[in-house]
Symmetry: C2
Subunit: 190 residues, 2 copies
């Protein structure tokens, strides 16, 4: 637990997101972020592996929730049902109070190729974790990877809809909707 002014990590995230939103990702130096947060450059890199990582602070928790959600699905569930359960399990990470910052971060990331890369890596780790958990449940491999990929697509689509300013529904709701649309589309591919 931190002494001095507490919440160093959160202060860094806030300072970074605000600075990026104001002036763009690469017109903001790490030194400027830490100055705004009342800390030093060295401390920033103790909390985050690199400059990008400050924007993906909550993502790892999400991956864990997702994998746990799949593991906790009833034993007889089909792959898609397990994925739906996982989408529901991540619900707590998407409180209405987080939409504002999520929207800001989403915009910053969309505007910068380096950040899109990092986002894709997180997404890939998420689907890899899903696929692994599905395999542990006994789903053989082409199906496990495929279900994970569809789950990732549902997650991304659901997140985009949830963040939309016109949206009023919860994340779980829009994400499960996206998933069922994808399942329907499955029949029209052949």
């Amino acid at each position: 637990m931190s002494r001095w002014e507490p919440n160093a990590r959160e202060r860094l995230v806030r300072a970074a997101v605000e600075s990026f939103a104001e002036r763009g990702y690469d017109d903001v130096t790490v030194a400027e972020i830490t100055e705004r947060a009342g800390l030093t450059k060295r401390t920033f890199f103790r909390h985050f592996a690199d400059k990008r990582e400050v924007l993906f602070a909550g993502q790892d928790i999400l991956s864990r929730l997702f994998a746990e959600g799949i593991a906790a699905a009833p034993a007889g569930a089909t792959p898609i049902e397990a994925v739906a359960a996982a989408l529901t399990a991540t619900e707590p990470a998407f409180g209405p109070d987080r939409r504002e910052q999520a929207r800001t971060i989403r915009q910053v990331v969309a505007d910068h190729s380096d950040l899109r890369e990092r986002s894709l890596l997180k997404h890939a780790k998420l689907t890899a974790a899903m696929a692994e958990t599905l395999r542990e449940r006994g789903i053989p491999d082409p199906a496990a990877s495929l279900a994970a990929e569809i789950g990732g697509l549902a997650f991304t689509t659901g997140f985009a809809r949830w963040v939309d300013p016109a949206n009023e529904r919860s994340f779980g709701e829009v994400a499960r909707e996206a998933l069922s649309e994808l399942v329907e589309a499955t029949a029209k591919l052949g």
Copy 2:
């Protein structure tokens, strides 16, 4: 066209791949690569946007082949048939003479997170291009994204099998095989 010693770009790629294979990606500086190639650091960054990019030199051509392959598929083809045609269309990029270097690069990339990121970005651009081309063919959107994602999965799986030292078959063959396995798995998801 280059003067002086020609093929500066190819020399840089060779020098980089060999150095990375010998000593690992981040124990090799750009200065060392350019020295080995008989050039300077400044010239390296004229040919490649950053240090990673030297390992993904051919990737953009591949994306183009893929998209063109889909566009060139017969008008009545289903999404999956179009994807299969695209996989076939990339065949020329996978000559037997390229397997050796492809295998080396694959290993270097697998060992380094930064490079995995870049690889994922290329992969994402490839599937995005596929999805876009499918939409232009009149496939509506959940299906277009889904088919593109499955195509990407088939591509990745096929590439892994093609590169395998024990493999003797062509890329198109193993990739189409991976695709049909994925289509079969589709039925078992519900």
